[in-house]
Every structure is written in C-alpha cells, then in structure tokens.
C-alpha cells in the first residue's frame, strides 16, 4: 500500500492511522510522519514526496575539485581505491575512511550508469555504440565490486571491534559518522543480547563484558597490530625499526613480511602498500 492509498483510507475513516512498528518499518522516522498524518487535513499534494536527490549529487560534485591535484602522484581515483581496498583487506587495524574518494567514485558510477541508460533507450543507437555501452557497463560492474568489497571489509572490522571502537577515541577519528553510529549500535545490541541471554543469570562479579582478570587476555577484541603483513614500498621510505632492534631502509619496490605495527605509519602516509 502506498502513501496515497493509505491516506485516502484514513481520510474516509476506513482505516485508523497506526503508530509504532508499521511506521518504523516504512520509513524509520515516525517523528517526521506525525505532522502529516495528524495535521495534514488540507490537500493531497502536500504529501511528502521523496526528496529530490539534487543536494546529495551537488555535494558529491563539489568534492571533485579538491581531489584532482593529488591525482598525478597517486594515480586515478580507481587506482587509489583499489590500493585502499587491498590495504584494508590486509591490515589488522581499521584504516582511515576515504569518504571523499568514495563519494567521487560513486558519483562517477552514477553518471556512467545514467549515460548508459540514456543511450540504451535511444532506438537510433548503432551496433558499434552497443559495444561501447557494453564495455562501459562491464567497467561499472567492476568498480561496483571493488566499492562493495571495500565497504564490506570495513563493516566486518567495525562489527568485530565494535566494543573497542566505542571506548577508543583514536580509532573513532578513522571512521565516518555513519560507521561510528553503526559501531555503537552494534555494540549496544550485542551487549543487550548477551546480557539477556546469559549474563543476567551469572553472579554480579562475572556478569560484565569488559572484565580484566589477571593472566587472562582482555575480553574486548582489539586489532592485533603485531600480525605480520606483506609490504610493498611505493617509494623510498624513512628508516623503520624492527621488533628485534635492527633497522631497515626500504627502497622503492622492496617487498617484505613484517609486523603491521612497524609499518603502520607508512601505510597511513601511503608510502607503502599492503599486498
């Protein structure tokens, strides 16, 4: 049932406006709905229509100019995202979010898809054009795969370290607002679930999720920064100190296996990539 039908039913008194779950599932924001269902007794065309996508699109386009100066040394946006994707996959910790880069690429994806849509609807499109359209579409799918996999990788780490994220201010700076929100909601949900299903039945001393008993590893899952990673130097790197006390100068192209904590800063600065 759509908005208009329901509105007609309510007006004619054949249905009672229902608050609560039905509103929540439809739109997720009952507070926005209420003024319209209650106070809106005038005309239908005041019904809230889906907001025009224009503001979001405009914001995405605005972010483009900031971005291009860096392109020359770091490769195209897609190359950059591919590198961030691989880094994110291999790093045990959560890396800084690449919001601008992602926005820029999503915007580009949308423009390409729209262009394809337009050309496909045009009956005068020639056979030769069809090959071009097909190739553009293939690329769109390739890029979408990388974007999805990148986001999913972050999501996986965020859910895994949700409790740690809520207590650590430093790691929060590396997440977007939406990711922080997701982390805290996930942490609260799992906490409640554990409490209701098991913890409330345990003695008070054992009913917490963040106990730090002696000789036992901490209960909050933290990123294990000592996990080794394969590192590929993209440029000559400043000297790093290894766990055994030795130092290492990495030339461009150097490949090496070493603990993540050693190269953490180099990864953040983009001087090395993880492979």
């Amino acid at each position: 049932m759509d908005w208009d039908e329901e509105y007609e039913l309510i007006r004619s008194g054949r249905a009672v406006p229902r608050a609560g779950p039905s509103f929540l599932t439809r739109d997720g924001s009952p507070s926005n709905d209420d003024p319209h269902t209650n106070a809106n007794s005038t005309t239908r065309h005041q019904q809230p229509q889906p907001p025009a996508p224009a503001p979001a699109a405009a914001a995405a386009i605005e972010s483009v100019p900031d971005f291009y100066p860096e392109e020359a040394e770091q490769g195209t946006p897609l190359e950059q995202l591919t590198r961030h994707w691989m880094n994110e996959r291999h790093a045990p910790d959560i890396l800084p979010a690449q919001e601008d880069l992602l926005m820029n690429l999503l915007d580009h994806l949308r423009r390409q898809s729209e262009a394809v849509q337009l050309l496909r609807e045009d009956p005068s499109t020639s056979e030769e054009e069809h090959i071009r359209i097909m190739l553009v579409q293939i690329e769109v799918e390739r890029v979408k795969f990388i974007v999805r996999s990148y986001v999913r990788t972050r999501l996986f780490k965020i859910e895994r370290y949700a409790r740690f994220i809520t207590t650590n201010a430093e790691i929060q700076t590396r997440l977007t607002a939406a990711e922080r929100d997701h982390a805290s909601r996930h942490a609260i949900l799992t906490d409640q679930h554990f409490y209701l299903s098991v913890l409330q039945g345990l003695p008070e001393k054992q009913s917490h999720l963040d106990d730090t008993p002696l000789f036992v590893p901490p209960m909050v899952t933290e990123p294990d920064k000592s996990r080794p990673v394969f590192v590929h130097a993209l440029q000559r790197c400043p000297r790093v100190r290894l766990p055994d006390g030795a130092t290492l100068d990495m030339e461009k192209g150097h490949i090496s296996l070493m603990p993540y904590s050693v190269v953490e800063e180099l990864v953040a600065r983009g001087e090395v990539e993880l492979i």
Partner: protein
C-alpha cells in the same frame, strides 16, 4: 556476515585477477570505436588495423566476441620464459618478473591462446617456473624470524599462496619472543 570467512584472512585469486585486469595491454582491434571516457581513464580510438592500448578486461571482452586480437606482452613467449627458467634454476634468488605475471598470463592463455605462438609450450614453462619458485619460497621459510623477511621479486600470486602459512608462522614466532613481563 559482511565478509565471508574465506575472504577474511587473505585475498582470493579471482580478486587478484580482477586487479591485474586493469593493466594495459596491446590489441589489434577488428572493429572501430571512438575514444571513450571510462571511469579508469579514456581509451581508444580503435582503428583497425592499428594497434591500441586498452585494459586487459576490455581486451578479454572484445576477444571473446571475436572483435580483436591480443598482442602478447613482451615477456609472454617461449624464449623469454625459457631464459627465466634457466636463471631460476641456476640462482638462489628469485628472478625478476612482472609483479602480476601469473594472473595476466593465465587470463591470456585462457581466452586468447590462439593469439600466442606455441601456447602449450608456454603453459608448461609457466608451470616449471612456478615450481622452481615455489621450491625457493619453501626454502625461505627456514630463514623466517619474528621481525622481518625480505622477499625481493616475489609476485602477487606467489605472495598470496604463501600468505596463510608465513603469516601464521611469524605470529607464533612473535608470541614466543614476546616479553612475558610486558603483558602481566
């Protein structure tokens, strides 16, 4: 879950192939196409019979529709691979090959073996190379310690292959040397 179990510890070979497919390769197109803007850059124009440089994924798609011939990269031929195999067998170190040579060679051998000279010989050379290099990386495991292991000239697919074993071995070595007082 957001990330399947099988993808958590490592990257899968198809994903590496996807990344490698972004690399440019020469083709001889059989159709013409105007210069077109893609997300990764502008490619074309295609004007048969002039050669053009396009990403591997595009070459593969055109090839499967019989719209182009793929020009093999300079390292994908019997002489070059034979030379490298000889080097590989005579030296202790890894010889230098393109970083994503396994993925690219596999893709080309799969879809465009008719554009290569003697593809069967190339296949068997690739296999020999792989085995020779694999033996060396196994030897390398002996020198693994808890702090660092340099792997010059190792290729993307080879790293992916040794990753689970090497990462776990190194983690265990790290635990063994960890200062017991620090965590207490």
């Amino acid at each position: 879950m957001s990330l399947p179990q099988s993808l958590r510890a490592s990257v899968s070979p198809p994903e590496l192939e996807l990344i490698a497919s972004q690399q440019l390769i020469e083709i001889v197109p059989l159709i013409s196409m105007e210069k077109t803007a893609f997300i990764s850059g502008a490619y074309g124009p295609l004007r048969p019979p002039n050669k053009a440089r396009v990403p591997l994924w595009m070459a593969v798609n055109l090839k499967m529709k019989k719209k182009c011939h793929i020009v093999a990269p300079s390292w994908l031929n019997v002489e070059y691979l034979q030379e490298h195999l000889a080097l590989e067998l005579s030296q202790q170190t890894f010889s230098s090959l393109p970083f994503r040579f396994t993925e690219i060679a596999k893709v080309i051998l799969d879809v465009a073996s008719d554009d290569l000279e003697n593809p069967d010989k190339i296949r068997s050379l690739m296999k020999d190379l792989r085995e020779a290099r694999q033996a060396k990386s196994r030897e390398g495991l002996k020198t693994l310690d808890h702090s660092e292991l340099s792997l010059p000239n190792l290729c993307s697919m080879e790293i992916n292959e040794i990753r689970p074993y090497f990462v776990q071995s190194m983690s265990i070595l790290t635990q063994l040397v960890r200062d017991p007082l620090r965590n207490a």
